[in-house]
């Protein structure tokens, strides 16, 4: 009993009265006006050793939420044999708020998870069909873990932003079908130092159609309404409404608890949310973009050393072999769907170049890659640059043509010592970037 008294955070009568009366004159305790949002800071995790993608940390004022996205190959549900799964898990640490208890998740933890799950899943924001590997047998299961690190109020919005940011940066390892019967799933490791006898391939990002943004309102007193309530305001509020909306203005989910509100108020909320959702979306996008650029730059550095190793051993024969294989593949690709031709060619070209850099001479056949749309242009550019191509055009549309040119220019690779020269140029390129 007594320990419980110590652990529960409580509010004084003074605070309660002050928050209510200050709102009458449109004032809030942190100096905001009723419809101001707190500052959002999005950071991406670089602390995990093997998996640096798919983790994010979001700060919304004092609120601090960390999110991890992980994937696993599982059997699909019977009724949806060709769809991957998406699940949300929440973790409320007692460090964030003494009222959170260890062990069974509290009501608010379940509610938070449900709101985010609903916003993401029922609006079909994440393309689950592209997560299918073998229909009825293997699909990717995406798991989002949300850790509340500090509770400063409005956990729903912060957790939602964290989940989206983590999903946007998450990349799953590419896998293809192989083996004797063509049914064996081959996982391609994302990095060369992973212990695996399969080819290294760039991991794939998820296909995300739109970003459902949650915005929370608190209803305090009879008529007052605030956006993005703090911890203190949440303790005073009579009701709450979370609206999940995407930047197109489509309502994905609504969650309302507590006192009743007028229809007109709900409509007013929705209008405000549509503006705020746009702001938050652009914030998330800029953060993700800068992270992707950084990652692409890092890739350039990482790929440089192994390509130097090429001229130590005998490169001529293998390079020739690869290039032949590559020509073969590009022919094959041009036969395949003409819509994706550009992208596909880029893709096959990259594989060929990568093998060249990693001295893997064996020719392999690539089946038509269903995920080629998911390939990040930044990564493409980076990989091309790192493999010694001369100038990479900025637009994906032009990539196909220029690569055809480059293939010609790179053809005399089987000469005396061509790889080292291309490596040098690659080094210069990198510095220019």
């Amino acid at each position: 009993m007594e320990q419980r008294l110590v652990n529960t955070w409580r509010m004084t009568v003074n605070e309660k009265k002050f928050i209510e009366s200050a709102l009458e004159s449109e004032l809030r305790i942190d100096g905001r006006r009723p419809f101001d949002y707190r500052r959002v800071t999005i950071k991406f995790g670089r602390f995990a050793i093997l998996r640096e993608d798919g983790s994010s940390e979001v700060q919304l004022g004092q609120t601090h939420v960390m999110s991890f996205v992980t994937s696993q190959l599982v059997q699909p549900y019977r009724d949806r044999p060709n769809e991957g799964t998406l699940s949300v898990f929440t973790e409320f640490s007692p460090m964030a708020d003494p009222s959170f208890e260890v062990g069974c998740p509290s009501e608010s933890a379940v509610e938070l998870g449900r709101i985010i799950d609903r916003g993401l899943r029922e609006s079909r924001a994440v393309d689950t069909e592209s997560l299918c590997v073998v229909a009825g047998k293997w699909v990717w299961s995406i798991r989002i873990d949300l850790h509340i690190l500090d509770n400063g109020g409005n956990l729903v919005d912060a957790a939602n932003i964290a989940a989206l940011a983590a999903l946007l940066t998450f990349r799953r390892p590419e896998c293809t079908l192989g083996g004797d019967d063509g049914q064996e799933v081959i996982m391609h490791p994302p990095e060369a130092h992973w212990v695996s006898n399969h080819h290294v391939r760039e991991p794939l990002s998820l296909t995300i159609h739109h970003l459902p943004i949650a915005v929370t309102f608190a209803f305090i007193g009879d008529e007052n309404m605030v956006i993005d309530p703090t911890h203190h305001e949440e303790a005073v509020m009579g009701g709450r409404m979370s609206v999940t909306l995407n930047s197109n203005g489509e309502v994905c989910a609504v969650q309302k608890a507590g006192q009743g509100v007028m229809q007109s108020v709900v409509m007013q909320c929705l209008r405000i949310v549509s503006v705020k959702a746009g702001d938050v979306t652009s914030k998330i996008k800029t953060a993700v973009e800068s992270y992707n650029t950084e990652r692409a730059l890092k890739m350039v550095k990482r790929h440089a050393p192994p390509s130097k190793a090429v001229d130590v051993s005998e490169p001529g024969q293998k390079a020739k072999q690869i290039l032949e294989g590559q020509k073969l593949k590009s022919e094959e690709c041009s036969v395949s769907q003409s819509d994706d031709m550009d992208v596909d060619q880029v893709h096959t070209y990259i594989h060929a170049l990568k093998e060249l850099t990693h001295l893997r001479g064996d020719v392999f056949l690539v089946s038509k890659d269903p995920y080629s749309e998911g390939v990040n242009t930044d990564e493409l550019k980076a990989t091309l640059a790192s493999c010694g191509s001369v100038a990479v055009p900025m637009k994906l549309v032009n990539l196909g043509d220029s690569i055809r040119d480059e293939t010609k220019s790179d053809e005399p690779l089987s000469d005396v010592n061509p790889v080292s020269s291309s490596t040098d140029s690659a080094g210069k390129e990198t510095r220019c970037c």
């Binding site: 007594e2 008294l5 509010m11």
Partner: protein, 237 residues
């Protein structure tokens, strides 16, 4: 009597394990140790990270900033009434245990006139007992039995900060934040050493301004504090 030896660590940051005094060389002295220090045979060692403070003639203690408060006798604190029993009120003081405030510990308190506080009342009180393993005891009287300034605080706004910030606000000379704000605004303030600050003023906007200025000043140097307060006041006027 030998001349008094003073630790060379005074007003410097210390960490647990630091030996601030060697008693073997100073036989005839009496020392008073405050929070964060421990006697270990002939050595006085630090058990808590913070800044070593010294007060003449012989008091030593460690000052640090925490979000949790460890009660010390004589501290003035802001508590929140959690529960009422026949003998005492249970008061939350941000410590490891709830504190007891005896119903008779008010000026002129008798069995007949027991004060009534609803749960959530903010009380300015003094710590009178703080023994390990026991609930600390508070009092709303000063040592001579007068109410002084102690008692419930009405209206205004209370916010929580760290113990270090409270100490800064109470330090003399007056800290730049309060001095700067006091020049332009009229407000009442009560600072509890347990990291709670209560502010009251005529206008709600000034309460908000003062509260936020104080909360922001935690990690600022005196010069920065001055600049911040000036900017805030400029924006308001």
């Amino acid at each position: 009597m030998t001349s008094t030896t003073v630790s060379s660590f005074i007003d410097k940051p210390v960490v647990p394990g630091d030996v601030i005094l060697d008693l073997s060389k100073m036989t005839d002295q009496t020392l008073k140790l405050g929070g964060g220090l421990q006697q270990d045979q002939d050595a006085i060692t630090v058990v808590q990270a913070g800044i070593l403070r010294f007060s003449k003639p012989n008091k030593y203690w460690i000052e640090s900033s925490h979000k949790r408060y460890i009660p010390t006798v004589g501290d003035t604190i802001l508590g929140i009434v959690v529960d009422q029993r026949a003998e005492s009120f249970f008061v939350d003081i941000k410590g490891p245990m709830v504190a007891f405030l005896p119903v008779l510990a008010f000026e002129g308190g008798t069995r007949r006139n027991i004060p009534k506080f609803e749960v959530g009342t903010l009380i300015y009180a003094r710590v009178v007992k703080a023994n390990t393993g026991m609930n600390p005891e508070l009092s709303c009287m000063d040592a001579s039995g007068k109410a002084a300034e102690f008692g419930p605080l009405k209206d205004g706004y209370m916010f929580e900060s760290s113990t270090g910030l409270s100490r800064m606000l109470l330090s003399s000379p007056t800290c730049p934040v309060l001095e700067g704000l006091g020049k332009k605004l009229a407000f009442e303030i009560a600072v509890g050493l347990n990291g709670r600050v209560w502010v009251n003023a005529e206008h709600k906007s000034s309460i908000i301004l003062v509260a936020n200025a104080i909360m922001n000043s935690e990690s600022l140097t005196p010069v920065q504090q001055k600049i911040m307060v000036e900017r805030l006041l400029d924006r308001v006027n």
